[in-house]
Amino acid sequence: MELHAANAQKFIEDEPRTDWHDASLWFVRQKRDIQIKKVPEWEDLRELGSQIKANVLSDLDTYLTQFEQNATNNGISVHWARDAQEHNEIVLQILKSAGVKKMVKSKSMLTEECHLNPHLTEHDIEVIDTDLGERIVQLRDEPPSHIVLPAIHLKREDVGETFHQKLGTEKGASDPKYLAEIARNHLRQNFLTATAALTGANFAVAENGSIVVCTNEGNADLGVHLAPIHIASFGIEKIIPRQQDLSVFLRLLGRNATGQPITAFSSQFMKPMAGQQMHYVIVDNKRTDQLGREDFRKSLYCIRCGACMNTCPVYRRSGGHSYHATVPGPIGAILSPGFDLKKYSDLPFASSLCGSCTDVCPVKIDIHQQLYKWRQIVGNEGDMPASKKIAMKWMGKLLSNPNMYRIVGKLGRMFLSIAPRFVLYNPMNAWGKQRELPTPPKQSFREWYLTQKK
């Protein structure tokens, strides 16, 4: 239950590093602010994006079958996966039947969610993540800590050390140019020898059966264009109705994610190249459950820009790994309890409910309202400590009884003014660990008011 709090405390123990992490992400948020303020119709775009997504979800089955039909007509094999396991099996079968031994993968949070890499490795298929940040965390055997900036928790020195251990670079080397060159050569070898490429999809266009993949490194394109097999795995919520809707989402995505007018590569894949196989694996994995939860349906609007993480004062000071979920940060904290309420009961509480996530969201997901609503569900059926439940019950009784409230208030203030410091600042007092308690006044406001009235 308290996992995030404990992880965060550990993260913050290295305060200079916490400050560095906070500043790195705040820098991205500031870049985003500059870029979105150049678009006078920004708020209209957000509204439009939100409405298009609402429309998609209200008629998702129709759009999905339309998409499937069009993709099939384009010569693409369409597969449906109910859950992570089915997804992994489908991918494995495609690769096995073509005798693939090595696959390159561009960044895909869905395959992280499905834990595809270990599944394929178990079956002797090597998977190389080709997004630089993703490759770095893969070499370190870590999950990404951010959905857009997977290695944002690492300093260049950390990357240098990882490359030294795994790729044989000079010890202590941390020059970004040098490291990037090494990575480029290392990845190039893999691009040339892989016989399949897997990508995610940022958008799947129902009216023409195409997908759009947005990257800044062009790694998805290189992988797909060199390999005889292209597999694209994505969730059912990636559908957008029309080609022209891209003119809304591509503008929203790049600006809100990293403060770029558009991602460096926004590639649309429509049909297989001559001699190439192309597969779509469309995954549910509990998304329809979320679709059925009225209060949380809007979480499926998410276009994975990651801005809610960059803006979140808690995420910036606790790091992506503290959320112990595939998708961290505010959006992860409203998606994860839908996957496993008990396991992720702590996440809706890993927020001060400041609401910055909601205001920064490019498709207007009411993230902090959903965090509040998940808290109520955790309180009712999740993994909330009994002590907290009892405390809240008593607090409710106390605050609904004016006499009891006044007596306890007075006694409390008296206790605060006479108790010795070691009693007040005992280990149970989480407030007082790093904060002083307020100085209790002699009179409450009510007491003052009554003396005035006499």
Binding site: E43, P313, S318, Q376, V378, G379, M395, L399, R413, Q434
Partner: protein, 245 residues
């Protein structure tokens, strides 16, 4: 104009001077101010902790205390926000509808209802304004920095009318202080780190007094400031608007 004064529990118990300043301010503005003496709390602490049903009795008591007034005004945007936006937990009878409609945070009551455009107060200090998140993003008392729309801030608007005040610009205009209700104890480490960072922003910009419309945030910041033995003072904006010296 019959105005009921809403003094949230922690102001009643720990910051009576904020209640007094609010009371005096409203009287000076010509309101007929009443203090319903059986009030306690709005019910937010339990609800934010995931126990909304435990808030119902407290919310009912709030309605009993505050029904029948033209306006209900409290110097705490967060508590007012809870009454306004979360009393769907109650059956929506006429009293509940009237109370949730007529409840105001002090600053928006002064700017939007009383339409105050002059304040007879003097405060010759460098002041940093901490706009609480519930005030800003819940009650929309100020524009959020995430939004691409004209800037406004009702609390700043009022403070600017105070004589000799120097309102200081902060590096991060609307970052959360980390109080967050029970978040401040259940996520103690992050909460305190957020508070420390907020204070550092004020300190870096030579702020002498941190003010705001929510003493809950300020209580948290004050707790850290005192532990740090810093000289920065913390005051509710009602105290500044009421500073006659």
């Amino acid at each position: 104009m019959k105005v009921a004064l809403f003094i949230p529990c922690y102001i009643d118990q720990f910051y009576p001077e904020v209640g007094i300043a609010t009371y005096e301010l409203l009287q000076k503005s010509g309101c007929d101010v009443h203090y319903p003496i059986n009030q306690t709390c709005c019910g937010q602490p339990m609800a934010n902790s995931g126990c909304e049903t435990e808030s119902i009795e407290t919310a009912k008591l709030f309605i009993d205390n505050f029904k029948g007034y033209d306006y209900i005004v409290g110097p705490a945007a967060s508590c007012v926000y809870f009454v306004k936006k979360h009393y769907y937990i109650l059956e929506q009878n006429a009293d509940v509808q009237a109370v949730t409609h007529n409840v105001y945070d002090l600053s928006e009551f002064m700017t939007d209802v009383l339409k105050v455009n002059e304040i007879n107060a003097r405060f010759p200090y460098k002041v940093g304004l901490h706009t609480s998140c519930h005030g800003q993003r819940g009650m929309r008392l100020a524009q959020s920095s995430e939004i691409n729309a004209p800037d406004f801030n009702k609390q700043k608007q009022l403070l600017s009318m105070v004589k000799d005040i120097e309102l200081v610009n902060l590096d991060r205009t609307d970052e959360c202080c980390g109080f967050g209700g029970t978040f401040c104890v259940f996520e103690e480490a992050v909460s305190v780190k957020m508070g420390k960072d907020r204070i550092a922003d004020h300190a870096k910009n030579d702020v002498q007094v941190i003010t705001g419309g929510d003493i809950s945030c300020l209580m948290h910041l004050q707790g850290i400031i005192q532990r740090q033995k810093s000289t920065i003072k913390v005051m509710h904006m009602a105290q500044i608007l009421n500073a006659t010296s």
